[in-house]
């Protein structure tokens, strides 16, 4: 098979499957009928738990036993959290934390 056509097929398959995963709950529960209460409950309480999961996911490759022991990651998070707590300005906190992290890993903990 021509490799251009095969690439198109791969992209189409990936697009369809990715949309399929996102569509899945609506296919199961979204058709007019009533959503079971337990699903509504899960929809309400999953976000804060998933947020923590995403944070852990982002930090999953941090190794505490070797230098720099996760210090850049956790120091940047701590500074951002404290800044946000004090200033209530989330953009300031997010940008400061990120710039600090970039400085840490590019210039300090190299």
């Amino acid at each position: 098979m021509n490799s251009t056509i095969y690439a198109l097929i791969i992209i189409a398959v990936m697009a369809a499957l990715t949309y399929g995963a996102r569509l899945f709950p609506y296919l199961l529960f979204g058709r007019g009928g009533k959503v079971p209460p337990i699903i509504t409950y899960l929809g309400n309480v999953l976000p804060p738990a998933v947020m923590i999961l995403l944070i852990v996911y982002c930090l999953r490759n941090v190794v505490f036993t070797v230098y720099p022991h996760g210090i850049p990651e956790f120091l940047a998070i701590a500074v951002a959290a404290i800044l946000y707590k004090i200033t209530k300005n989330n953009l300031l906190a997010i940008v400061s934390g990120t710039v600090l992290y970039m400085v840490f890993i590019q210039l300090i903990f190299v």
Binding site: A21, G43, L46, P47, P48, L54, L91, T98, Y101, M102
Partner: protein, 265 residues
């Protein structure tokens, strides 16, 4: 709608800061592998998933067998099946735009939409569309820059993807305040760390999500009464933040990509 986009834009700036560099990295990889702007653009418009698209580059370059493409894509995206649960009710009355909102729900968009409330004077359904479309457009813009001019950029962006991690932290702080029960947060923490220790960094997401779901169901009788009574009051408690941050989230996580960004440089 223009008003909704202008008002929602500040909320999406952290995602902009993350998606543009990641999009550039993806565009660069496509270009390096010999695929032009058509292919890069097609991927970012039609697939829209961080990790998946980085793997896609090797799929289409190597001509990977379809069954393998299917298997890996399903595994990578299975967490998305859980995200939609938080929008079943919200998407009921908003018309056909819901098909686009469902399509464009990345990890980051999920995080924003579940944790942030619409700004004053913006309709909920316009807010949902504005945030989703803005985030999607950042990914596309980054891709185009990467595939056309990426090799000319000489800035060291190593670490910029950490913006997503800190965004999640800030959104988690908002949710801590907005939710009357902190048990979902603790369940999320215990399940994630336990899964990470048992299954390792490459395979822990799905076991963690299953464990979270099971524990949330087991503890339902304790959590639900608190959350239900607090729903109305949480509206006010979140609004003292600089931007209105509410209670629903969506995201593609950047870690694997960041590794590739680094190796590109």
């Amino acid at each position: 709608m223009r008003h909704a986009i202008a008002k929602s834009f500040p909320i999406t700036i952290p995602v902009l800061l993350g998606y543009i560099p990641l999009g550039i990295a993806f565009g660069l990889m496509m270009e390096n592998a010999g695929w032009n702007i058509f292919w890069a653009l097609l991927s970012s418009v039609a697939i829209l998933t961080g990790t998946g698209q980085f793997i896609e580059v090797s799929f289409i370059t190597l001509g990977t067998a379809l069954y393998e493409v299917i298997l890996i894509t399903i595994i990578l995206n299975s967490r998305m099946m859980f995200y939609g649960l938080s929008f079943l009710d919200r998407y009921k009355e908003i018309g056909p735009r819901k098909w686009y909102l469902i399509f464009s729900l990345t990890d980051e968009t999920y995080a924003l939409l579940t944790a942030v409330k619409p700004p004053e004077g913006v309709k909920e359904k316009d807010f949902l569309l504005a945030v989703s479309a803005l985030d999607h457009s950042y990914w596309i813009i980054g891709t185009v820059i990467g595939v056309t001019a990426g090799s000319l950029l000489k800035i060291d962006t190593t670490g910029v993807d950490y913006v997503m991690t800190i965004l999640f932290v800030v959104l988690a702080m908002d949710q801590w305040k907005a939710y009357a029960s902190h048990e979902p947060v603790l369940i999320g923490l215990v399940s994630s760390v336990l899964s990470l220790v048992i299954f390792g960094p490459d395979n822990f997401m799905i076991p963690a999500l299953i464990l979270i779901t099971v524990l949330l169901i087991v503890r339902r009788s304790k959590i639900e009464p608190k959350v239900a009574t607090a729903e109305s009051t949480s509206m006010d408690s979140g609004s003292e933040a600089g931007m209105t941050i509410g209670a629903d989230p969506v995201i593609p996580c950047p870690d694997t990509e960041s590794i590739m960004v680094t190796s590109d440089e």
